[in-house]
Symmetry: C2
Subunit: 293 residues, 2 copies
């Protein structure tokens, strides 16, 4: 694939190198300089081949979104004719409804903004609750969502052979089922209890966890408060151990130490978001999708 380049940013170097090797394509980096006035200066390789895959996860998204709004048209000026975004974590997917009058439905606006700049947007486990597919917020065929559930399920089965997988809420039901199937594991799913517009608590599933090795599974963890509450409740109910596995290790603030302080034994994540908890790789998933799309 001589006419294809993987373009990445320096803070995702390890993931970029693994992906370029799996794909057998050249890798180059966007150089980013930040001026004292906050402006960014970007420099891309020149010229660019016809097909460019731009790798950019959107954890802590705002500065990175501006980089993309500059990098995408620059890439086209420099020769890219087919420009795809590989965004292992896609931001703004949870703001999917006008919760209060006048509230921005950022999911829709961000999806359209990205679709206006890229021919394809490839991501992993986007947090879609009220919509079934990215096709509802992007032109058909632009958005491609892969799932890390099977690789997480297989990892868990290898580490905790008799694990009981527990998903936090109904929204994760199908995703947890896929992980359980891939690992040949038992699973159960809790449900959300809403108290007003933004207050939500979690009710654990009515299963006996006495003496069980439980693994809490979710697509993402930010502050970790949901997982912490669930872990404490499971241990109080007699679970032998509680581990946590997530696709997207955002783990903002003190989330990771707080999880361990709450009694969580292992915290595992995919490398969709670079983080010290990364245990399984999404590269084979991405490489398969990129070489068949």
């Amino acid at each position: 694939m001589n006419d294809t380049l993987l373009l990445a940013f320096d803070d995702e170097r390890a993931l970029a190198e693994e992906l370029a090797a799996a794909l057998g394509v050249l890798l180059a980096f966007v150089s980013v300089h930040r001026f004292p006035d906050g402006e960014l200066r970007l420099q891309l390789p020149k010229p660019l081949p016809a097909t460019v895959w731009l790798l950019r996860g959107l954890q802590q998204p705002n500065e990175k979104l501006v980089e993309l709004m500059i990098a995408a048209p620059t890439a086209r000026e420099l020769g890219a004719r087919r420009l795809s975004l590989i965004s292992p974590y896609l931001a703004y997917m949870r703001q999917d409804i006008e919760f209060n009058p006048g509230e921005a439905v950022s999911q829709r606006h961000m999806a359209r903004l990205l679709a206006a700049h890229f021919d394809q947007v490839l991501t992993i486990d986007p947090h879609l609750h009220r919509i079934a597919s990215l096709d509802e917020v992007m032109p058909p065929g632009v958005g491609i969502a892969l799932s890390a559930a099977p690789v997480l399920g297989a990892w868990i089965a290898a580490k905790v052979p008799d694990a009981l997988l527990i998903g936090p809420d109904e929204e994760s039901a199908q995703w947890v089922r896929e992980a359980a199937a891939a690992g040949g594991l038992a699973h159960a799913v809790g449900h959300k209890v809403r108290h007003g517009d933004h207050q939500v608590s979690l009710a654990l599933p009515e299963v006996d966890v006495q003496g069980r090795a439980v693994v809490l599974l979710d697509d993402m963890a930010s502050t970790g408060r949901t997982l912490i509450g669930a872990a404490q409740a499971l241990l109080a109910r007699g679970a032998a151990s509680v581990d946590v596995a997530v696709t997207h290790a955002l783990f903002n603030g003190d989330a990771l130490p707080a999880l361990h302080a709450a009694g969580v034994r292992h915290v595992w994540s995919s490398n969709a978001v670079p983080h010290e908890s990364n245990a399984v790789s999404v590269v084979p998933l991405l490489a398969r999708a990129l070489t068949t799309s």
Copy 2:
């Protein structure tokens, strides 16, 4: 103008209130909440009238650009049929050429991005050097550039009646001429001396400054290093006093104390960018343009 609303952000409240009063229109604010994962949640008044003027200066621009990319489509969904951006300071206007191979021409990309989201973009003294007008980077008629040079010139004439205005380089020549004409003041302009691609020093004009009250005039100041060098050189040549007047008081880092430490007496700016140095208002300028456009 019952069908018109001025919409602003809380950190520009003073400018917004002054502008709303001058225009005789209702004022409302976009509510912005920032989540731990870096995402923003915006809430706008609902419903919106047919004409919405959104006030947002783009100093320290990146987070604010994302706000605009969310606020603009939200405003249209909430009823705005004509949506104008009032951006007293427009960012990314200096990256107007590919200085090195593959470098992003961010001026063009940002201009197009804003023009794709707003029917009109009104700004003050955009830093245009290699292009003559915003029409070269936006669809004709979308970009409107006003100049604060006349109000700055009049302010200086009132404070320093015999001032000699000095502009830093050829690019500021026309702009300094306008300020001088408005204030009935003498003026002169230096020139840039380039050392390589990004290294630039300034040569002062060959005028006798001995015993003169000099006012250095520029469209913007970021780190202030250019103005500091010029002030020191002018004082060394015998200038009686050196003041500084700029449209856009970015003054990043220690720029303001460093200017005073270099011997600069007064630092004046327009309120296009809210700053403690603000001395003259751009509101009459903006109000005139908005009520005649």
